[in-house]
Structure formats: structure tokens, C-alpha cells
């Protein structure tokens, strides 16, 4: 296009990050909005009165501990990938998945506790909200578990190493986000039950 020896201001390369990582952050933002709207609805509805107060199942305390632990192992898996310690990556990703499953089982047991406590999905909205919020969060955990399986398969195919980190990094982002989201939801529910 240009002829030679022309003085041309070379424009700066545009600031850019990895498009897929960026898209992951946007996805995280929209999931965040989904839960923000549910918790806002919770507050608005609670303010109108006729609200059934009950204690949160004790199970939720240890599931919270589990999800925090799983974030630690996930981060360690990412660090291991950065150092090309592939065996450790596989082990740590598997442990994270294990913690994730334990978390889901714990949430399920919390639901059973609720039913024992005579709090059902159908009834006063205070209970319904709890089921919807934990259920929807659980669905997202399931999606993250699927993502972890994909990461694990990539690890076995030697597709994750110090120069190919995008996938495990995005998965780590998503996992930390869901863990943080649960912490927010749990504290929110503790404060507003």
C-alpha cells in the first residue's frame, strides 16, 4: 500500500489483553449481576414484612470452609502449571474437583436440613429465596466442574504448561469467582435471614 521512504507516524499498538480472558471477566460480571439482582429482590421483599425468620443450616458453615479450601488448591494448581509441574497440576485439579463435589453434596444436605426444619421451596418467600439462591449457585458450580474436567483432560494431553496458561487461568478465575460469590451469598444470608 505504501511506497518506500515515506515518513509515516507509526501508530501505537493498541492496548489489548487476551480476548478470551477478557470475555471470561465479562461473563463473571453478568453472573454477578444475576446474583446481585436476586439478593436485591431478597432485601426488597424482606422489607415488606410477612417474612419467616429461621436459622441457616449448620451444614453451610462447613461447605463454606470446603469452597475456600478448593480455591486454595485451584490456585496451587495454577502455580504448578506455571512451573511446568504437570503431575501436581493433575493432582491439584482433581482435588479441587473433589472439594467441589463435596461442596455440592454439602449444599444438598443443607437442603435436607431445611426440609427437616419444615422450610420448603413452596411457602414463605424467605425459604424459597434460600433454595433459589443456593440452587442457582450450585448450578454454576456444576458448570465450573465441567470446566475443570476440560482442564484436567487438557492437562493429560500436555496442553497446559507454563507457555499455555490461558485455559487454566480462566478456569481459576471462574472458580475463585464462584467461591467469592458463595462467601458473599453466605454472609448476605447470615446478615439478612
Amino acid at each position: 500500500m505504501t511506497t518506500e521512504f515515506k515518513i509515516v507516524e507509526e501508530p501505537k499498538k493498541q492496548l489489548a489483553m487476551h480476548p478470551k480472558k477478557f470475555a471470561m471477566w465479562l461473563f463473571v460480571a453478568s453472573v454477578g449481576m444475576l446474583f446481585a439482582s436476586l439478593t436485591s429482590a431478597y432485601i426488597v421483599r424482606q422489607a415488606e414484612g410477612n417474612w419467616l425468620y429461621f436459622d441457616l443450616p449448620a451444614t453451610l458453615y462447613w461447605t463454606t470452609a470446603v469452597i475456600v479450601l478448593s480455591s486454595v488448591t485451584m490456585q496451587m494448581a495454577y502455580w504448578a502449571a506455571k512451573k511446568d509441574l504437570l503431575d501436581r497440576v493433575k493432582v491439584l485439579v482433581s482435588i479441587t474437583m473433589g472439594f467441589g463435589l463435596v461442596f455440592l453434596v454439602g449444599q444438598w444436605m443443607a437442603w435436607l436440613d431445611l426440609i427437616d426444619n419444615n422450610i420448603h421451596l413452596i411457602g414463605n418467600p424467605s425459604g424459597s429465596f434460600l433454595y433459589i439462591i443456593t440452587g442457582l449457585h450450585g448450578l454454576h458450580i456444576i458448570s465450573a466442574l465441567v470446566y475443570l474436567v476440560i482442564v484436567l483432560v487438557s492437562a493429560y494431553r500436555f496442553k497446559i504448561h507454563s507457555r499455555s496458561l490461558a485455559q487454566i487461568e480462566m478456569c481459576t478465575t471462574y472458580w475463585h469467582f464462584l467461591g467469592g460469590l458463595w462467601l458473599y451469598l453466605f454472609i448476605f444470608l447470615l446478615l439478612n435471614r
Binding site: 500500500m1 515515506k6 515518513i7 509515516v8 507516524e9 507509526e10 501508530p11 501505537k12 499498538k13 493498541q14 489489548a16 489483553m17 487476551h18 480476548p19 478470551k20 477478557f22 470475555a23 465479562l26 461473563f27 460480571a29 453478568s30 453472573v31 449481576m33 444475576l34 439482582s37 436476586l38 436485591s40 429482590a41 426488597v44 421483599r45 415488606e48 410477612n50 417474612w51 419467616l52 421451596l121 413452596i122 411457602g123 414463605n124 418467600p125 424459597s128 429465596f129 433459589i132 442457582l136
Partner: protein, 626 residues
């Protein structure tokens, strides 16, 4: 501000995208499951046109009932079948279904998917200088989720119990209880499923648009050099990303209320003297959630059109856009405000009057950025060498609608006035002008302007102008009388007013509105003919038919997947250097460096070249903000 960067070596990108350009792949991968943003844009456009036709026809059907309440509509039996009663009238429940579906289709399927889907997809990569979207696959998924959503909505129209009928806002309890009306049965279920899929489609598209704009710009395409279309699409996508999940939450709770027996929105309801078991719900909660999406949604609808208009008005006035920064700032300001005004839709829900006054204040502030935009459009036109292409006419039409519809927004934003005008035809007139007709005109302007790039051919100019004048006059004839009808107290969504003695004097005005609506719809067939005829038989388009500066006109006449043959062009200036004093032509494309235009450079632009002369190895980076 100019900075000097030292580059040892200019990095040259070798893109291999253009080697699969011509005819590779088969029919299915090229035209149906394509990942090319241009093909996806055309898919959105054609689907949007299909829905616009259905939505428009529905409006004419219910206008027939409203304008000619005594007419015998038996002749519509072949089309509507059982929905025409033996007396030759439109079934009352079907009338409500028509109103509901007209709103849903127009707001979501035509003016959200058809508008953002078409032009964000088509223009973002072309105008920022990218080969394609950040993720072509997600982009394709976005279309097919929309398509699936459309199929489900389309099926719901043919149910024997009718499609959703509770209004496009689907307020519970009307929408939550199947026994409330026939449309709240399966029709409502399908509506919710369709909208859930639609939200997925919108999010997939929106994530892609934002990612692409931020990360995929070509060299030199700084934010301050983005065309205003891109700025508008950018903020539209952000609004969608933040507000659609809220609609999803609202719909999710409604689905649970409908199917699982929860009571989020239901309380103290008696049907035929029998109390429903649902206790403790709040229908107002739904309104909060719905309008937290619903209000930003109107900006999702109008902002892309305003962006398209900025580009077209500057190009066809042969003048730089007036107040580029103010234009960007006003879009940003509108975006922020769009999230804090939702309760102005709810002034009559028994809201605390103090809260109402806060929302009144916030709502009225929107008039400021909106007025800035109108002012800048008019000052761009002022003393320009205006070329009245059909796209330009439609853009000016948009400015007119946006102004006349926006002024009534100031009335309605006041809680005190709104309590009188709420749910009357005044509201109908307001939003149809300011966001309905205005956005639609923006969409048509965009089609006329970028048709040469989409299909490599020109649309017929004369037919375009005829289309414009019929549509422009038609829209005003439809919606202007509605202001009077509304102030007179006509409630919206009513099937008939013949029982109200006081409304008899307005019968002829309603008749006029209906006749105008029929004419306006008829005028759209001129466009449809022009569109499809020109696609195959139109004049071959020149490379840059409108003498525009923007990047999309540097592509080949029919760009393949990858858009540019060879390297992506580099950008050296903003896109609005029209009629620059001293320049040879009245436009300087973005790809022309300042060193090639010494005759028209401004002092600070010349300084950039001087800097370069001093040190041959230095590469000057123009980082100035306009």
C-alpha cells in the same frame, strides 16, 4: 500530547485469514452456520425484518379494531380463523395477545436483536480494523440462540389458547396464574422460555462486542479515534450485559411461581371466591426487577441508532461531527443514568412520594445528555454541504422523532404529571416516537447506508426517498394524535371505548391514526422490494459510495472472511476529517497519515511530523485526545 517511542523493529503481522476467502467451505458453513461476522449480521438483519413484518402487521390488526370498532372483519377469517368471532370482531383475548406480542417482538426481536445484532456484528470488526469478532463461534451461537428463541415465540402465536397476553411487561399476577386469562397458559410458558434463550443470545453477543472493541482494534485505532457508532455499540453492550441478567432473575422467579408453586410475586389472591395457597409474595417486586432491565432496555434500543445517526449525519453533511467528546460523554452519561431511573415506570404503585421525587429528578437529568446529542446533530448539520441520501433523510427523521418524543418524556418523568397520564395513549405516543420510531429509523438509515458494504450493490435512491416520506409523515400521523387522545384520558390496552360517551368525539381521530398506520406499514413494502431487488439487480457499488472516512470502506467491494486482503490498514487520524480546510478532497480517510496531508494539517499535527524529521529512528505516536 505527543510522545516518542523507540521501536527497534516494526512488528509485521502476517495474517493468513484471507486464504480461505473465496468459496471455501460449503453452503452450510458459508451461509447458515457461518462464523463470519458479516454473514451473522445479515442473518440478524433478515430475521429482524421478518419479525418487524409480523410485529407491524399485528399493530395494523389491532388498529383496525381501535379505529373502526364497528367494522365487519370477517374477511380476516382466512388469516386469523377462530380469533375472529362469529360477529366479525377480533376476539377480545386475542386483541390483548396482539398488543403483547407486538410489544415483545418490536422491543426485543426487532430493535434489540435486529438492530444491535445486525450493526454491532457488521460494523465493529469493519470499523475498528479486525478480521472478525473475538470469538466467531460464540457469535454464531448468539444468532442461533436468537433463532431458537424466535422459533419458540413463533410457535406460541399459533397456540389455540393464544400467545402471551399480559402485556409485554408480563406483570404478575396476571401472567403468573394460568387461570387468569387463556394467554397466561402455555403461551406465557413459551414466552418465558423464548425470552430466556433470547437473554442467553444477548449476553453471548454483548460479551463478544465488548471484548472485540477493547482488544481487537487495529494499530492506531485509539479510543479517541473510534467512530461514534462503535462507542454507541460499546455502551449498548455494557448496558445489556448488566441488565439482561436481572430480567433473567425476574423471569426465573416467575417461572418458579408458575410451575413450582412458590409465592415470590403472589399473595392473597381469590379466584371465584376460593383463596389461592400462595402467601407472602409481592407483585411490586416483579416490577422492580423487570424495570431494572426494562428501562436500560430502551437505551439498548436507541443508543445504536444514535450512533449510526452520528456517523451518517457527519458523512452526509461533509462536516466533522460537532462535539465528538460531548457525544461520547453523553452516551456514557445516558448509560449510567439508565440504571437509576427504573422506578419512574412505577409512580402509581403506591411508592413513597419522596422516593418518587428522587426518581423524578434522576429521570429529568436524562434530558441533559439527550439534549446535548440533539444539539450536536443540529450543529453538525448547520452550514454543512448536506447530501440528502435516503440514509441521511432517515437520520434526520430520527433526530426529529427523538426530539418530539423526548419532550413528552419531560412531562412523563414528573411523578405529579405521570399520575394523570399513566397508562394512557400519551405514554404510547411518547415511547413510540422516542424509542420506537426513532430506533426504527436509525435501523433503516443504517441499512441504506451500509447496504453497499453488505451486498456490494446500491439501493435505489428514489424508492428510498419515497419510502422515507411515507414513513416519516405516516409515523407522525400515527403518533401525534395519540398525545391528544392520551390527554383526553384514553387508557392504553383497552379493546374498545364505544361504551364511554365522552370518547365519542375522538372516534374520527382514532380512525385517522389507524389509516395512517396502514399507510405506514404499506410504505415498508417499498423498502422490502428495494432491499431484495437491489440485492440482486442493484447498481454495483463503488468502493466508497458516500466518500466516507471510516475504515469499512477500505475493504474490497465484497469483503471475504477476514475483511482485508493483506495487512489490516493502520489508522492515523479520527474518522471525521470532512471538509478540512486546505485539503484536496472534502474527506480524508482514517488510513491517510498526517505526513501525506501537509496542506491541511493543524499546527499540532505538523509538529508530529517535525518530531519525526529530527530523528529518523524515532517513531512518533500521536496520542492526542480530540
Amino acid at each position: 500530547m505527543a510522545t516518542v517511542d523507540l521501536h527497534t523493529q516494526a512488528d509485521v503481522h502476517h495474517h493468513d485469514d484471507h486464504d480461505h476467502e473465496h468459496g471455501h467451505g460449503n453452503f452450510w458453513t458459508n451461509y447458515i452456520f457461518s462464523q463470519d461476522h458479516k454473514v451473522i449480521a445479515k442473518q440478524f438483519l433478515i430475521t429482524g425484518m421478518f419479525w418487524a413484518l409480523i410485529g407491524g402487521t399485528m399493530s395494523v390488526l389491532f388498529r383496525l379494531q381501535l379505529g373502526f370498532p364497528d367494522a365487519d372483519l370477517t374477511w380476516l377469517k382466512p388469516l386469523l380463523g377462530e380469533w375472529i368471532t362469529p360477529q366479525g370482531k377480533i376476539d377480545t383475548e386475542f386483541y390483548l395477545a396482539l398488543v403483547t406480542m407486538h410489544g415483545t417482538i418490536m422491543v426485543f426481536f426487532v430493535l434489540t436483536a435486529g438492530l444491535s445484532g445486525t450493526f454491532s456484528n457488521f460494523l465493529i470488526p469493519l470499523q475498528i480494523g479486525a478480521r472478525d469478532m473475538a470469538s466467531g463461534f460464540m457469535n454464531m451461537l448468539s444468532y442461533w440462540f436468537f433463532f431458537l428463541s424466535g422459533v419458540i415465540m413463533f410457535i406460541s402465536i399459533f397456540l389455540s389458547t393464544g400467545p402471551a397476553s399480559g402485556g409485554w411487561t408480563i406483570y404478575p399476577p396476571l401472567s403468573a396464574l394460568p387461570q387468569a386469562m387463556s394467554g397466561s397458559g402455555l403461551g406465557m410458558t413459551l414466552w418465558l422460555v423464548a425470552m430466556a434463550l433470547f437473554i442467553v443470545s444477548s449476553l453471548l453477543g454483548g460479551i463478544n462486542y465488548i471484548t472485540t472493541i477493547i482488544n481487537m482494534r487495529t494499530n492506531g485505532m485509539s479510543f479517541s479515534r473510534l467512530p461514534l457508532t462503535i462507542w454507541a455499540f460499546f455502551f449498548t453492550a455494557i448496558i445489556g450485559l448488566l441488565s439482561f441478567p436481572v430480567l433473567f432473575a425476574a423471569a426465573l422467579l416467575l417461572i418458579f411461581d408458575r410451575s413450582m408453586g412458590t409465592s415470590f410475586y403472589l399473595s392473597d389472591i381469590y379466584i371465584n371466591g376460593e383463596a389461592l395457597p400462595n402467601q407472602g409474595g409481592s407483585p411490586i417486586l416483579f416490577q422492580h426487577l423487570f424495570w431494572f432491565l426494562g428501562h436500560p432496555e430502551v437505551y439498548i434500543v436507541i443508543l445504536p441508532s444514535l450512533g449510526i445517526t452520528s456517523e451518517i449525519i457527519a458523512t452526509n453533511s461533509r462536516k466533522p461531527i460537532f462535539g465528538y467528546k460531548a457525544m461520547v460523554g453523553s452516551i456514557l452519561f445516558i448509560t449510567i443514568l439508565s440504571f437509576v431511573v427504573w422506578a419512574h415506570h412505577m409512580f402509581v404503585t403506591g411508592m413513597n412520594p419522596f422516593l418518587g421525587s428522587i426518581f423524578t429528578l434522576l429521570t429529568l437529568i436524562i434530558a441533559v445528555p439527550s439534549a446535548v446529542k440533539i444539539f450536536n446533530y443540529v450543529t453538525t448539520l448547520w452550514k454543512g454541504n448536506i447530501i440528502f441520501t435516503p440514509a441521511m433523510l432517515f437520520s434526520i427523521g430520527l433526530v426529529s422523532f427523538f426530539l418530539s418524543g423526548g419532550i413528552t418524556g419531560i412531562f412523563l418523568g414528573n411523578s405529579a404529571v405521570d399520575i394523570q397520564l399513566h397508562d394512557t395513549y400519551f405514554v404510547v405516543a411518547h415511547f413510540h416516537l422516542v424509542m420506537g420510531a426513532a430506533s426504527f429509523f436509525g435501523m433503516l438509515a443504517g441499512v441504506y447506508h451500509w447496504f453497499p458494504k453488505m451486498f456490494g450493490r446500491m439501493m435505489d435512491d428514489r424508492l428510498g426517498k419515497i419510502h422515507f416520506w411515507f414513513s416519516f409523515v405516516g409515523v407522525y400521523l400515527v403518533f401525534f394524535p395519540m398525545h391528544y387522545i392520551g390527554i383526553a384520558g384514553f387508557p392504553r390496552r383497552y379493546y374498545s371505548w364505544t361504551n364511554f360517551e365522552t370518547f365519542n368525539s375522538f372516534a374520527d381521530l382514532n380512525m385517522l391514526v389507524s389509516v395512517a398506520a396502514i399507510l405506514t406499514l404499506a410504505a415498508q413494502f417499498i423498502f422490502l422490494f428495494n432491499f431484495f431487488y437491489s440485492m440482486f439487480r442493484g447498481k454495483a457499488a463503488p468502493a466508497n459510495p458516500w466518500k466516507s472516512n471510516a475504515l469499512e470502506w477500505t475493504t474490497p467491494r465484497n469483503p471475504g472472511h477476514g475483511n482485508w486482503v493483506g495487512e489490516i490498514p493502520t489508522v492515523y487520524r479520527w474518522p471525521y476529517d470532512y471538509s478540512k480546510p486546505g485539503a484536496k478532497d472534502d474527506y480524508i480517510p482514517q488510513t491517510v497519515p498526517y505526513s501525506e496531508t501537509p496542506e491541511s494539517n493543524l499546527p499540532h499535527e505538523n509538529d508530529l511530523i517535525k518530531l519525526e524529521m529530527e530523528d529518523k529512528n524515532a517513531i512518533v505516536v500521536d496520542d492526542k485526545k480530540h
